[in-house]
Structures are given as structure tokens and as C-alpha cells.
């Protein structure tokens, strides 16, 4: 109307400014609030978790958030935590550090969670560390064994829970020395800090490898790549093969071994060692290969109903997580959820990010949980469990402790020795409801 014939350039500039103004005006213009504690109201506590719900690494791990929420619902039905009900927002990062960054942004800036719990993946947690540290967001009981995360100075708000990969490798190395002396050993490992951590532990234990096969995270989805792992192994003919990868990679390795007719004594890293997941992904034909494999765990075997924690968690799973089979992933999720509830309780009614972190530092080492090793939390330590027991997989993929009883080996992430330790596991609180 006014300007009857806009020029192209004029249009361009006008469009810029107009769109920008419109966009800015439409945005919520409230004061910046990046460092205050969020996620707590009089009646609710909001927590967040990032894990692979889809993608190549998802099998097995995608059951963890559901299991955690199931346990939280059980606690909510029984009074909650200081009168507050817990809600867990679960986001998918497809085991991709770039996606992990963006969903963590969403959780903290948009959903305004109190804390992130059980975030999965070494690379994923590393990618989000800068943001987490800047915003002082508690990152509790992370689902990775990378030893670096226990460094309280570098990761002031991050608490580990899994025994580190260094610890696991040292213990495995010791076990191999004791039981497979003189036999040749090969290893398949994820080619990043996850695998490098394990190699560090094996180096400390003095394990010598006949052949080492690194693989790029995600490449386990390509059968030709897996074929190459196996042909490399078949050429070297190791007596023992260690598999240090996620569940889908372990499944792929076993499946590939079946296809190529390759036989060895498999030793499976705990993170990727859930029998049910492997059996599902690798197919029924490869379960035969799982039979006789050696694995490690720090929690009781998921099929051991004589253990009070297992019995209780199975009952909770049946009621609050219907349709989901109880396996090591569900067990671990519920165990982490139990620790989370204890941390929230310990922080008291005046719940903030700061009080939550203080509570774990102060009393975290006394929290009850299903783990056999003790928790190493203190004012200076963010180390979680520090030990494993060994078992063998049965014909259906269920793991049972070697010798029938849980023999615990503990160590540290440094050069300390591996020792057999008596478990000082706290008694389970009544009905599995924390009472700290």
C-alpha cells in the first residue's frame, strides 16, 4: 500500500528485520534463570535420564528408564520422598554424543529437572560434561564405568556407581591369570575411552593379548564388519576371547562366531553381558555359544530368587512394569532408582541441587542396595562400587556364580592389588522401601 513496488533488496532487509522482531517478541521473555535449583515443587520431584532408546546400541538398555520409573512409582505409592512424588523424564540419545548434548539441554533448560540420573554412555557423558558443570546439575549414578568420571575435581557434580572398567579389567586379568594361565587371550573392544579404560586395566594386570580388535561404536550393526572381527580371530585362534562392548556388540560377536563356526572361551564384559538381551538379539542359534561363556557382575544374578533384593525387585517389576521381562537391565535400573531415592531422602525436606549433592557426599556410603561391593562415596570420592564376582552362562543365557556362591573381588582404578573380599552388603530395608 505505502510502498507500492518494493525492491528485491528492500524486501530482503525488511523480511529479515520483521521476522526477527516477530520471533523475538513471540519468545517467552523472562529473566535468565540458569543457576537456581529446579525440578522440585511441594509435591513433585522431576528427574531426567538420557539413554539409547533407539539405534544400534539400544537393545537391553532401553529397558532401564522404564524399570527406574517402575521403582519410583512403587515408592510414590508408599508415601514418596518427604511427601513428594518422583517423576522421571526419559530422553533418547541413540548412543550418540551429539544427541545426548541436545536432549540434555532439553532436560535441564526446558524440563528443568532437579538432577540427571543414570545417564548412559562414556562418550555421551563426556560430551555433556561442560554443560552439566556450568549449570551445577547433579549427575548421579551414571551408567558407565569409565574411571575418569570418578574424578571429583573434574566432575564436581557427577557420581559414578558402576565399578570402573579399569577395576573390571584388573579383576578379569587376575581371574585369567589364576584360571587360564598359559592360554592365549584376544580382545574385542569399543574403540574409544570405554575400551581404552579396559585396556588400561588389563595392562596393569599384566594381561598379554594375542590379538586386539577395536571397532567403531555403531559398526556392530554391519554384518560384514562383524565378519571381519571373527575372521581376524579365526586366524589367530585364541583360547580365550574377551568381549568388551555394549550388549548389541556382544550379541553380534557371538552371532558372527556362530556363522563362521569359530569356537573359543568367551569372557564377556559386564556392561554388555546381559544374557537375555544377547539371546534376543543374536537369535536362538547363538545362545549355544553363550552357554559356557564367563561373565562378571556386581549385583546378584537376575534369576536368583533366593536373594531378597531380587525377589523384591521382581515383585515390583511384575506389578509396576508389566510385560517387561526381568533381566540384568531391569535389575540395574531398579538398583540405581533405589540409590536415587535414598539420596533424595538423605537431602531432607529442603531439597535443592546443593543439598542433594551434600547428602550423597555425607551418607552415600551407607545407602542400602543390591550390590555386593561397598559404595565409596565421601567428601572427596565419587567412586561407586569397586568389585565383581564371576559366573558362567547356562543353556538359556542365565548367569550363575562359579562355585555356587558369590565370591567378591575388589580393587581400585589405580595400581592397587585385586583382593578377595567378604561382602558387607547392608540388609535390605523392609519391602525394599528406603528408610534412611
Amino acid at each position: 500500500m505505502l510502498v507500492h513496488r518494493r525492491t528485491k533488496r528492500g524486501k530482503l532487509a525488511f523480511t529479515f528485520v520483521a521476522t526477527a522482531a516477530l520471533v523475538i517478541n513471540a519468545l517467552p521473555a523472562h529473566a535468565i534463570n540458569t543457576y537456581k535449583a529446579d525440578g522440585v515443587t511441594a509435591t513433585t520431584i522431576t528427574l531426567g535420564i538420557t539413554s539409547p532408546l533407539t539405534g544400534a546400541a539400544a537393545p537391553g538398555y532401553n529397558k532401564v528408564p522404564g524399570a527406574m520409573q517402575a521403582y519410583f512409582n512403587y515408592v510414590n505409592d508408599n508415601g514418596g520422598v518427604n511427601g513428594r512424588k518422583i517423576k522421571l523424564i526419559s530422553k533418547d540419545d541413540a548412543y550418540n554424543p551429539v544427541l545426548a548434548k541436545s536432549v540434555t539441554n532439553d532436560l535441564v533448560l526446558q524440563s528443568k529437572v532437579l538432577a540427571i540420573v543414570g545417564s548412559l554412555g562414556t562418550a555421551e557423558n563426556e560430551a555433556t560434561t561442560r554443560f552439566i558443570n556450568d549449570h551445577n546439575v547433579p549427575r548421579l549414578f551414571i551408567n558407565t564405568g569409565y574411571s575418569g568420571f570418578a574424578d571429583a575435581k573434574k566432575y564436581p557434580t557427577t557420581y559414578a556407581v558402576l565399578p570402573s572398567y579399569v577395576m573390571e579389567a584388573k579383576i578379569m586379568g587376575q581371574y585369567l591369570k589364576d584360571n587360564f594361565a598359559g592360554k592365549s587371550v584376544a580382545i574385542i573392544y569399543q574403540d574409544d575411552d570405554f575400551g581404552a579404560d579396559a585396556l588400561k586395566g588389563f595392562a596393569t594386570a599384566g594381561t598379554k593379548f594375542l590379538v586386539k580388535i577395536p571397532y567403531a561404536s555403531g559398526s556392530q550393526a554391519d554384518p560384514t564388519v562383524v565378519g571381519k572381527w571373527i575372521s581376524g580371530l579365526a586366524q589367530a585362534k585364541p583360547d580365550v576371547t574377551i568381549m568388551f562392548g555394549v550388549s548389541s556388540a556382544t550379541a553380534a560377536a557371538l552371532g558372527g562366531a556362530y556363522k563362521a563356526g569359530f569356537k573359543t572361551q568367551w569372557v564377556l564384559g559386564s556392561v554388555g553381558g546381559d544374557g537375555t538381551t544377547i539371546a534376543t538379539v543374536a537369535g536362538p542359534t547363538a545362545v549355544g555359544l553363550l552357554y559356557g561363556a564367563i561373565g562378571a557382575s556386581f549385583l546378584p544374578a537376575p534369576t536368583d530368587t533366593s536373594d531378597p533384593y531380587i525377589a523384591q525387585f521382581q515383585a515390583i517389576n511384575t506389578k509396576y512394569n508389566p510385560g517387561v521381562s526381568f533381566d540384568n537391565n531391569v535389575l540395574q535400573g531398579m538398583n540405581t532408582a533405589m540409590l536415587t531415592v535414598e539420596a533424595l531422602r538423605a537431602a531432607g525436606p529442603n531439597l535443592t541441587r546443593a543439598s542433594l549433592l551434600k547428602a550423597i557426599a555425607k551418607s552415600g556410603s551407607t545407602f542400602a542396595s543390591a550390590g555386593f561391593a561397598s559404595l565409596g562415596y565421601s567428601a572427596t570420592s565419587h567412586v561407586g562400587y569397586n568389585g565383581y564376582w564371576f559366573g558362567t552362562y547356562g543353556p538359556t543365557g542365565a548367569i550363575k556364580p562359579i562355585g555356587g556362591t558369590y565370591t567378591l573381588y575388589t580393587t581400585d582404578s589405580g595400581s592397587g592389588a585385586v583382593t578377595q573380599t567378604a561382602s558387607k552388603r547392608p540388609a535390605m530395608p523392609e519391602k525394599g522401601l528406603p528408610n534412611n
Binding site: T54, G55, A56, A58, P59, N62, A216, S219, A221, D222, P223, T224, V225, G227, K228, S231, G255, Y258, K259, A260, G261, F262, V281, G283, T285
Partner: protein
């Protein structure tokens, strides 16, 4: 080791040839690169998967998946490509409109699959063993399933070759793609013939999906890389040539297998890119591509 690698290359090359064939069929009949090909193929495979779950029989699910692929191909042509030809050929995006449109269709198909079946990795099992054939103590990385893949691809390629060469339908297909106006004048029903071409392409893609998926897993994106490889194979062989699709597929399959074994799995597609560039620099229309006078 050399023979092993060759066998692996043969098996994957057969699949690339099938995908390349589907692309060339569509290209020759409509001058469009069908980016939705992997989506159509994977949808047909999901249908085959459902049928195999219901009937517990892979051999029943296979022809039904192929039929589904043909039907889907025909529907895409009828509902989507006709619309595109009418609307999408003006304006600044005329050249890339078919690419964008079929990419959009691909995304649409994959999202719909995800909404119906979810994104989890599924197992489409076949009764053929995945364990390699054993000769004495040595097991080669070529299983009955791989053998079936090669046979299926050869059969499909043989059928298409025969139809194109020796039947009236084949002649009509070739005429309709090369000079649609003249073909119409000679009484060929161009629209129908083109639709049949799309159906054939859909069927070829479905065969590829249904035979390769039992060797790994099924998910909405499981055939994406296959499409890329098929496209590269078609380009190497020459987009106008069916023979080129076969040759390109085999060359690429064997090439990838050797790169994987002797160099690295990280560099397969990059070396593929280099091979492609090399071929195109020497013959910009692919090995068997014709020097056509068209300016497209």
C-alpha cells in the same frame, strides 16, 4: 582369504545390483531418481515380516512381499509421481523437485513405519542357515542364505533382462521411456506402461529387502545404506543401462569387500566415492551409459 572376500563381495554385489536395477528401471521410464526406493523396499519387507510371523513360513512371505513391493511401486507412481510431474516442473526448483519430493516420500514412509512398528530392531528370520558352508575344517563366510541371495538376484535380473529384450512389454517400456510422445502415437499406452515399470522396480527392491534382511536386522532405516550403494552402482554402470546396473553392483560389492578386508571398514564409502569419481571423470555417463543428446 582372497576367495572368502570374493564370496562376500559377490553376495553383497548381488543385492546392490538389484537395488541399482530398480533405480535404473525408474530412471529409464521417468527420468527420476527414486530416493524413496529404500523406503518402498523396507515397507515391503515389513509386510513380508508380518506375514512370516503370521504364517511361520518365510517361503510364503517372500512372494507376498514381492507382490506388495510391486503394488506399492505402482501406487507411488499413480498417486505421487503423476502429481509431481504435473505440479513440480515449474519454478526455481524444477531440477531438484523430483529429488526433494522423493526424499520427502522416503521420510514419510519411514516415519509411518516407525509409528506402526516402532524403531526397534526386528528379526525377519529365514529357515536357511546363516552358518557358512564348511569344507573340512574351514568354514567360508558364505552361507545357504548368501547362496539364496545370489540365486534370487540372478533370477530377477534374468527375468527383467528377458522381458526387456524379448517381449512386447519390454519394447513398450523402452520406447515409452525414450520417446514418450512418439510411443503414444504408435498406440503404446504410455501411462500404463510406465506404471508397470514402477511396479517392476518396486518388486526388485522388495526382493532385495526380503532376501538380505534375514542376514541382519529390520528397522525403518535398515536399507538406507543399501540404497546409497545401489545408486553408486547404477551411476558407475550408467544410469541408462540395465547391464550397467548388474556390472556396477558386482564391481561395487567386490570392491567394498576388498576395501573392508584389506584396508579398513571406516574407508569403504570414501574409496567408493573415489572409484565413482574416477569412473565418471573418464566416462561421465557411467561405463555403459549412452551419450544421449538430451540436455538433462
Amino acid at each position: 582369504m582372497f576367495i572368502d572376500t570374493l564370496l562376500i563381495g559377490l553376495s553383497s554385489g548381488a543385492i546392490y545390483s538389484l537395488m541399482a536395477l530398480a533405480l535404473v528401471l525408474v530412471w529409464r521410464s521417468t527420468r527420476v531418481i527414486n530416493f524413496a526406493q529404500s523406503g518402498q523396499a523396507v515397507l515391503s519387507t515389513y509386510i513380508g515380516y508380518e506375514i512370516s510371523l503370521a504364517t511361520h513360513n518365510y517361503w510364503i512371505s517372500l512372494p507376498l512381499a514381492i507382490a506388495a513391493g510391486a503394488l506399492i511401486g505402482s501406487l507411488v507412481d499413480l498417486l505421487f509421481m503423476r502429481l509431481l510431474a504435473k505440479r513440480g516442473t515449474t519454478g526455481p526448483i524444477a531440477e531438484i523437485a523430483p529429488v526433494i519430493a522423493t526424499l520427502g516420500l522416503l521420510g514419510l514412509i519411514q516415519s509411518v513405519i516407525g509409528l506402526i512398528w516402532g524403531n526397534a530392531f526386528l528379526q525377519y528370520s529365514s529357515p536357511l542357515s546363516a552358518k557358512g558352508f564348511t569344507f573340512g575344517t574351514h568354514t567360508i563366510p558364505f552361507s545357504p542364505q548368501n547362496l539364496f541371495i545370489v540365486i534370487a538376484a540372478a533370477v530377477v535380473l534374468g527375468i527383467f533382462g528377458f522381458v526387456f529384450r524379448y517381449t512386447n512389454l519390454g519394447l513398450a517400456l523402452r520406447a515409452a521411456s525414450f520417446q514418450p510422445e512418439i510411443a503414444q502415437l504408435s498406440g503404446i499406452r504410455v501411462n500404463l506402461v510406465r506404471n508397470i515399470g514402477w511396479a517392476f522396480a518396486g518388486a526388485a527392491g522388495a526382493v532385495a529387502g526380503a532376501v538380505i534382511t534375514p542376514t541382519s536386522t529390520l528397522s525403518p532405516h535398515s536399507l538406507d545404506l543399501l540404497f546409497v550403494s545401489g545408486f553408486i552402482a547404477a551411476v558407475i554402470g550408467g544410469l541408462d543401462s540395465l547391464i550397467g546396473a548388474v556390472v556396477g553392483g558386482l564391481v561395487l560389492g567386490v570392491g567394498f569387500a576388498f576395501i573392508l578386508q584389506y584396508i579398513s571398514s571406516a574407508l569403504t564409502f570414501l574409496v567408493g566415492f573415489i572409484i565413482l569419481m574416477f569412473v565418471l571423470l573418464v566416462r561421465p555417463r557411467g561405463i555403459f551409459g549412452q551419450r544421449v543428446n538430451r540436455n538433462a
